[in-house]
Symmetry: D4
Subunit: 249 residues, 8 copies
């Protein structure tokens, strides 16, 4: 329920079209819809400025189904993250407009047009980091952002990165995704004046420790203007960067 629908409910009470007790009842129920084990945070769009994001891993088919079914009438954008093709099948039977972004492992349904905003760049150190980057990019696109992608520009071949310094320097927010040693955000952070959101990935082996190595690298970045997301958390990075870009001049 967004601000607009709430206002029209109130007007209906004022106009005598709706019983005042009924409004109280609806407001009480407003913050979330209870599906038993799952409680929807439908108040979220109002509070956070974006619709529902469903994290798929660990959810049974029936849980996915009941969620998809409950979201059928939603007027805001919907995202299912870390989704499989199988789960897409379930979701789609309830949300016919749902699209599967395979690389990003996101099922999305676009139902609302957020104001377009520019200046978000998503870069990766290697080609194995692309799925996480796509998760970031697709998330931000559903939030209204135009995203510039710049993949495989890791620091071991610095010229690949430097060749694109113009794109970086005119960005309003950069999501920098890297596995292995995760040095990319430090180098990028030294080149630009906008916020850089660093995402470590679990790409690597041995002392990479499933992404702990690049995570530590990024947290210790000697460049200023760099903050860090959880390992492989492309969605969080895209969401965060979109918040920054949305409110930029």
């Amino acid at each position: 329920m967004d601000e607009h629908s709430l206002l029209s409910l109130i007007r209906r009470v004022k106009d005598g079209d709706l019983d005042e007790n009924e409004l109280v009842r609806q407001i009480r129920a407003m913050p979330f819809r209870d599906l038993g084990e799952v409680k929807f945070d439908t108040h979220r769009a109002l509070r956070k400025g974006f619709g529902e994001i469903v994290y798929c891993p660990g959810k049974s088919d029936s849980q996915i189904e009941s969620i998809a079914s409950a979201l059928a009438g939603t007027e805001d954008n919907i995202l299912f993250s870390r989704a499989t093709a199988h789960q897409y099948g379930i979701v789609r039977s309830h949300l016919q407009d749902a699209v599967f972004h395979e690389k990003a492992r996101i099922i999305g349904a676009k139902r609302k047009d957020y104001p377009a905003c520019e200046g978000l760049t998503v870069i990766t150190a290697g080609s194995s980091d692309v799925p996480v980057a796509e998760e970031a990019a697709v998330t931000a696109e559903y939030m209204g952002c135009t995203v510039e992608r710049l993949y495989d520009v890791g620091v071991a071949g610095l010229h690949r990165l430097l060749a694109h310094v113009d794109v970086l320097q005119r960005s309003r927010a950069i999501v920098a995704v890297a596995g292995m040693e995760g040095a990319l955000p430090s180098v990028v952070g030294g080149l630009v004046s906008c916020p850089v959101v660093a995402v470590p990935t679990s790409t690597g082996y041995g002392a990479n420790l499933g992404g702990i190595a690049p995570l530590l690298t990024m947290l210790n970045s000697c460049a200023s203007g760099v903050s860090v997301m959880n390992i492989d958390n492309g969605l969080g990075a895209g969401y965060f960067a979109a918040l920054v870009v949305r409110q930029s001049k």
Copy 2:
């Protein structure tokens, strides 16, 4: 050397007032000034949009002295972070306008007026987190931000936080500082639609592991719109949040 000074040098060449080889020489030397062991990144203001920040720990008195002396003529703001009163004595003899922000452990010299910008809120879970929060706040202030401080509003007494939900909801960026279990950013992240920069602190004992516990908490935050800084890195958080606020509408 900012864009303006560069332009006037070029004009002097064009006007014949400056030898073209001299301009080449100055440009070559431009990016940094070499002090032997320390190389100043004077190109930084141009590239990053803010002056020099000197990290004090591990620097000898003579290193601090030569840096302070070299910065004497700078026209941008100067920050020395994690500074001691003793180091302030050294700095001040070269930079008479330097001020010591004791709680924040920052020595600052304000030489340039950045455009004022509003909407940055710094909050802490406990009173022991205040030094880190002050480091964030003072840094942002030197970058032109007006900072609202909201300290000791940890989640164990939730009403303290909820009483200030208005301040939080009208912010453009929030720096949330917490030690112990570090749950504050998750709760705040669930309440607001602006970016939240989480800073774990080393406040705590035992399984706090010097801040690792709240660091992990924040990285795993189930709230969207939260990114994380290194443990106790108030300066980084203030810098990052200031970047966000500076470019906000």
Copy 3:
């Protein structure tokens, strides 16, 4: 061996019926054997107040079979934890009254009515935490407790939790189950005056470290009245909380 038997042994030595070296030998082992025979040689139910709990993982089919067979005549309640459907097949052929609680992964046989006790609430932060919560709830139910379940009330959507504050505040013990960053017990601990048993789950990814992140969060909880169980240890939490509730007024 109690004081009485010791005295008669000594008398037998005195009377020449027992060799003095034999008495020395018996005394030598006494501090343990004594207590062993007298206090320990009773079964677990007497000492601990509840029947047998069998941890299934790592047990071969024949081990499960011989345990089930051995328990056939037991008059106390029986639990097999972390059980599979396959193991249920084996158990059931020996214990016809055994029931399989699938979500909780528990096979249970109810053979004794423990005194009913109320006031135990089991809550989860997300829907992926439900299996661990169910393990806690079902365990407590076999110990005589009536359990109130409150699932998917994590701190990122605080109103979902706050809507149920009444239930929480009238509980005698709360089991709070959470993965990701595990902040739920801290917030709940700040709202209630009864003991809160926190259970971290391995739900999450990256820096969640298989549940280490929420485990650390809970151990460092700034709220008082919170103690912690091992990762995913729903059974232990349900058992502990049931002990608390059972002896409550």
Copy 4:
């Protein structure tokens, strides 16, 4: 904001006394403010059942002073934990009735008589664990408990523990404090039917890892009915166990 106030607000809109946009604004903040004002705007003692506990480390003298001064008129019990003799000096100038429990490192002021309750036993594995145990015991005493102390009964000399099995078996809650390998709670947990609150201490060296070793031991306890506190967290254990005992029959 309860249901009643909401209804009257709606009526005021209906009657034209309140602008409809103002009602939307109030509803928008409602899920939190509402519960905030009604349920939270009471003090901690009401919600948690015990007065203020001040954690001293990291607090400056002036912070301690202002807290002590603010607490002067409190009618509930007051605890300052991890306090030094120096801090006691400061506190006492504002709270003349404050007492310093040196071993427990607690400053306490007893201003309220909680109902007496029995059945709490505090045990330690070694004599170096006594400060943590005393912190637990003194905390519980301020909450109205009579505490039985049983120190230096570690598992390497099992008979020391077994000699006191009667005390253990008639307890309603046991706080078991141990450093080194921390095996005590497992052994105790196997002997009793009441809840055991395990506290690892940082006593030890090498692979003890500052208490991580006994912490892990306790979390993995094969005995049921054992929950765990943070390393050295005697206060938390005493508080938790007192909650259990207070509500026992």
Copy 5:
């Protein structure tokens, strides 16, 4: 080549039956037989007092085959550890006398009678620790020891252990195997005067960390006379304890 065969070679030179250069050649080749990627330490029996032990995991079928083939003529005992039934098939086609100890995951061929020695006891905390215990027991048996097995006597049911205190107290060496929290060796170490070899197992979950928890427990044991093996290293423990028992009076 054992001392005896060497002596007869030397005698053959002395008697003129063997060319002295041939003896030099044999001695030069003596320490090991080179199978390309695998180099046999045939000197081992002489130096270490026991034959070849082959660690199977990570070895290809052809590697296993070439090793088995090379060992065909060996006159000392042979052990293949962590072997599968499939590998047993391969080994047996070359070593017809090989036996598969399934629980212990050991393939053994007994070709030499070591002097019988008594006093080795192998105990486990739970039934899931049996495979590791069997690995220890079978290893020691091939080294000539008579092994007393005492399984499932963990500390949570102390009487099970105490009932067997006689067996423990008359042992010359005890291998104590435990997963979960690994408290068994500490308790046993407090009861006996012989060396206790502690073996942590990976039995457990969550904060057990694949056996790190009981490993730390055992390393920090407050009982004297306890040393520790790697996680799940039954073979090493059996071997070590057999060395102790073999040289005991």
Copy 6:
């Protein structure tokens, strides 16, 4: 951009052929673009002295295909590391001269003859370390090195190693590969005067921690002249050692 081009740009401004703002813009990006265009816009072989190495894990079939296709015309050597037989099928359809080194898991195409160089020895502690060692050896061979292999010479049977001390002492670089406790490089480092490149492997179990144990061993080596690669990083070690040998006298 070198000094010369900069001078001519300046002259063009002076001559009015170039707008002064354009020069500022070019200088602004210069520190990076400059070096980028001049030094980096050459291919890797020029800068690093060897062709392309493709890390296969995590790459989709189509990614492998497009890379193989793009490399078809390359005149330098090509390596695909950690490749599977399946990937070899894909690669070979584009690079008919590609060879699959199965043990080393490397697909290689030899298109250039590097100057032959001698003195590289690759040794392993056990036979399970061979795949990593082969990766090192094959990599070095493609870089022109003749490689001496010495496998299964771990420190527990020291004579196996000492028998080959001549080979070791005449090497120009040694790659020492070891899992388990990883002591081999320390012992070798004490015997030779050439650089030793240590590679820990994930061979082992329990407290081996997937190779962390030998990694730490090697980093702490008390022998001088030992440096360390990531766990299982045979390719990196072979590459590094080849660099050393290639430039040796």
Copy 7:
């Protein structure tokens, strides 16, 4: 109270010199003497075969004093470990025969002659490991062992170790102490047929992690016949090895 005194007490009852109830009373009190916070395990000598060992760190002066005073009349050997010179002062005022072994940080009082036993060798990798080695050696000496010391024979200079291979090969137990990478026990374990007790020390820096590196090295030793003690635990190693040697032929 040893077996002998017990026997004479029994005889006194038999002879009518002692009341039988008095004997019961003495036996009941036998296992330990209660000093309030400290409980003496006086039964220990009977059970474990050696007197009291007092771990000094963390004990207050008054605790040390009361322990020393209580031990004044003991007839078995006494050890205070990790003692300071200051603590020696306190101990000596109660135990005039106490000696301070400064390097070993042990205060010892020799009051009983254990049967002499030979064959214990204590070796170290470096000279910084000597204090831990001395702790082992002195402990074993108080238990009746003759100890051969062999210091600074680390693997980086292998010939130093090999020069003493005779001493090693005729030992009945070896304590091998090493910091840095801790490779010594593996090499020694490969050379001898007696049990090797490995002790990691915290000597080193960086990735030594306070002794964790050599601890892991030793746990993963590829040599058989090696078991491990806690970091810096010389006392435990000496004790364990003495047990082995004492019962050797």
Copy 8:
């Protein structure tokens, strides 16, 4: 013992001059003694190509004194690492030619002229990394190298590094020292074709974990040609790099 001596021993047995059992005894110890006497009984300089390096921390004054005294007559270069001014006082009284390199914390005595070799460059990311870098540089200088120093060229100000790319590209070995996130070696490794020896430092705070963060970064470097030393191990890096440069063309 070489082949020749072995043959004469055998002949002596054949001739009756040597007992055959004595020959067996000598052969038994042979694999080690043999190589020992022939190859090891030479001093370190012969085997390793450089004189004695004494690691000072943890050594007592008298240990330092006896070492210095013993080295007085040495004709090779001598280094004392991690030395204090106080220790320099002791050393100098025995070695009058000893020099104290304060920044490098090295005491050195130059007694031999190693052949001069060029091409070693030592770089640091920050000015706090200088002590470790100096340790590397001074060590290499005592081994005959001319060292080029390039300090404070970290990746956050990339142009500082790129300005010196010429120096880097003409090096034969580079020691790259960095704390914080340790990204420098990756970037440098991508620019040059010579071996890069990476040294992490403990410079930093929080999630730097005393140098573990840059250590992991460097181990996971995506650039080829990079190997890693222990944290803060400047000496090892300088030594290793000097070995490389010494044998370069």
